[in-house]
Subunit: 465 residues, 2 copies
């Protein structure tokens, strides 16, 4: 049940015991600023005091403050504390009769956050047909406790698909099914920690949840330099492993340069270090055949991580790791010695792949996303010529380079309009020695078809001219 | 690929890098003894030496030896090492033309291992119908990354079902969906450890994987006394939490005595300790209405853990924890802040419950298992009068008390016949201060209907007369 917390005289509607507390706090504070309940210039209590008031961890409050400072809602200055920012633009007057959107947090008016495919185009009918065939033909003991690596049917289907589509070299016995890339990475983090690894090199820009997951396992993450050729493996020496997105750097959108691919593998062979290849959207390249996976060049030193979250839907909670032989037992043990992914979805995905439905779905999705990317690039050229779409024509997102210093105001303008979109700063490693760069990370695959053009309009409207 | 290890002149067919290594090693050694390749009296290498030969952890070898000693295949004596036991009975001569059973490990001739329902009676058609309804009506955003607590539809359906069937008191907001009880227990172990808990009290007899899971999280497990009234909560003082199977102790088959239920809750209220209630088979009671869950008496101090693994199938990988409010955020965080269970199965189970199909399935299963239990008790009375079925008429397993000292020979006889069944010794906490007790733990729900009477025959044939 929501409770009302009186804070600086402002009620924050929060569910203090529910999950997503940090996000809830961030949203509640943002809403208080946006609605004017917290007036410009108001000084907020210290994170320590507010945390004590709310009965939450101080870090939760500090993180929420940091996010809102980055978005431009709050300002923080040494000595003068955290204050509500002076507005650069007045909030748009609500149109007459506009209904409140109580679940706005889950459903923004326009959603261009990266990381999700178009969920409305999930092939429901084909999936149900595959489920019927799979469940009808499965032996009854398939429904029991399973091999920690996952169902043999799915591992076989994946090994074939990955060899064909991504150039992998490994049989089904090297595939471990997991509940998405994060789950696979969590298992590997536990294994690396148990092996005595201390530091995992990561990219200067990358997914914060992945970094946090490595750190939660007790590993240090060390950012690699990033330049015009992409991530630079110089400085890998100390690391026991490196996490990379070689086919399509997230979020910068470039592939790992040929010479740097070679340098990473050379490092792995020389030091015995492990390369963790996050191939989250490797199927989606629009201008040419995708670059093959690193794993195909050196299956003994590369762990390949793939997922159905971008190709089908995150809700399936199905991903896969393809491992060097020496890691299989440890990863299976880290999984608790049993299969942790639902058998029915595994059998269904196996049937979906072997029947050809997966390839058909990918082809259709590739066409849909390519058209959206082209439309976005064309719209930018016309409506926001100072903004540059960078990176290769691939994947589900594009990086939009903004004029220097304009990222916070652009994010703020987007928030006013109910447009959910990411700023690049969110994805920067806190210790990264890279120049500050203003940009948006736009997930053009996210909205359903019927909402796409309105989302694109909203995006163009908030971009600097 | 299987490799051949030359060990004491005997080839063990092992997959040294695959999962299930310990089980594989145990099976390979048992097979070597059974086939005569390892002759009676042969001294085995030390676990250290064999571990080095095989390139595996010494504990793996020591555990395999311990299992085989307990089963009577090997003998271990201080000073004279581990030897192949002198046979008490010759192996049955293979019947002419009997085909080898290469996958015997997965598919024993007769399977009465506890812990699984009759998988052949999984309601495939009803499940597929529910899946179609669920997937057809789900909003597209249900397929995205979800609430770490799981889908609201399922949490709502479960809260209603558990209130009705098990007397729970908690709304949907307190339910967290997980991939089975082990997954839920693993999350709680991480939370307890992070809260500074050192010791979790457990039952003297219980599931070894659960104990190992707590220990892997860095918690000590301390066994509680067990007597004629069941588990005795005296001696809980030091523990930060206690793991219990109150409705139907596993494997002993008795419920937690009324006074002891009260004592456990009194301890929890006095010390702030947490009660982890493993209600793995609470739906299955054949002589009367099941005793309600402890959680209903004190929702603020009890975590309720339930599962679809016994009521439907382990392959679904769906379980649920019902939490006191103060734990929700920590458990959601331990889950990594995202839903880790497949959405499609969650939506399908929600539909399956709300449509009444779940109750119908449970009623049919209850009747099936009750008949099997009755048949087993009747067969014992006639064919093995010295063996006593103990515990209440409930659940999917029964404890068969054997004449003193006859457990190892009974297990050995079962192995000769290809009958998979558990000895009680496997489930005993190594530090438990309880008298040794010879018994079998028989999972009468495990075989499909067509294999049940042959399995019962095989069981009666190996029991002491």
């Amino acid at each position: 049940m929501p409770e009302h917390w009186a804070t600086s005289g402002v009620d924050l509607h929060l569910e203090p015991s529910g999950p997503g507390l940090r996000r809830g706090l961030t949203d509640a504070l943002r809403e208080a600023v946006r609605s004017g309940r917290l007036a410009p210039g108001t000084r907020l209590p210290s994170s320590r005091a507010l945390a004590a008031d709310l009965g939450v961890a101080r870090n939760t409050v500090a993180d929420a403050f940091a996010d809102l400072v980055a978005e431009g809602w709050l300002t923080a200055r040494q000595g003068s504390g955290t204050r509500v920012a002076e507005r650069v633009a007045a909030p748009p007057a609500p149109s007459a009769g506009a209904a409140p959107r109580p679940r706005e947090r889950e459903q923004p008016a326009h959603d261009l956050l990266p990381g999700r495919p178009d969920l409305a185009s999930f092939p429901r009918a084909e999936w149900l047909r595959a489920a019927r065939r799979a469940l009808t033909s499965a032996p009854y003991h398939a429904l029991g406790y399973g091999d920690p690596r996952g169902r043999a049917e799915l591992r076989t289907a994946l090994a074939g698909y990955l060899a064909r589509a991504r150039g992998l070299r490994a049989g089904p016995d090297r595939v471990v099914v997991c509940a998405g890339i994060s789950h696979g990475l969590g298992l590997l983090a536990a294994v690396l920690k148990a092996r005595g690894v201390r530091t995992v090199a990561v990219e200067s820009y990358g997914l914060r949840p992945h970094r946090e997951l490595l750190e939660a396992a007790g590993l240090r993450t060390a950012p690699l330099p990033f330049d015009g050729l992409g991530t630079d493996p110089a400085g890998l020496a100390d690391a026991g492993a490196v996490l990379l997105t070689p086919a399509h750097q997230f979020p910068m959108g470039v592939p790992l340069h040929r010479e740097r691919r070679a340098a990473v593998l050379e490092w792995a062979r020389r030091t015995g270090g492990l390369v963790l290849e996050d191939d989250y959207d490797g199927e989606f390249r629009y201008d040419r055949q995708p670059v093959g996976a690193l794993q195909g060049l050196d299956p003994g030193h590369v762990v390949y991580l793939g997922t159905a979250s971008k190709s089908l839907a995150p809700g399936l909670r199905l991903g896969w790791a393809v491992l060097p032989p020496g890691l299989l037992q440890e990863v299976a043990d880290a999984k608790g010695g049993v299969d942790t992914c639902g058998v029915l979805d595994q059998l269904t995905l196996a049937e979906f792949i072997t029947s050809g439905a997966y390839d058909r779905h990918i082809r259709a999705a590739r066409l849909r996303y390519r058209r959206r990317r082209d439309a976005l690039v064309a719209a930018l050229a016309q409506r926001a010529p100072s903004v540059r779409a960078t990176g290769i024509a691939a994947g589900l997102h594009v990086l939009l380079r903004l004029p220097e210093g304009t990222e916070p105001q652009t994010l703020r303008a987007a928030a006013w309009r109910g447009l959910a979109v990411d700023g690049l700063h969110r994805h920067r490693h806190p210790e990264a020695a890279v120049e500050r760069c203003d940009a948006l990370v736009v997930g053009y695959a996210t909205p359903p078809d019927h909402a796409w053009s309105a989302a694109l309009d909203a995006l163009c409207a908030v971009l600097p001219e």
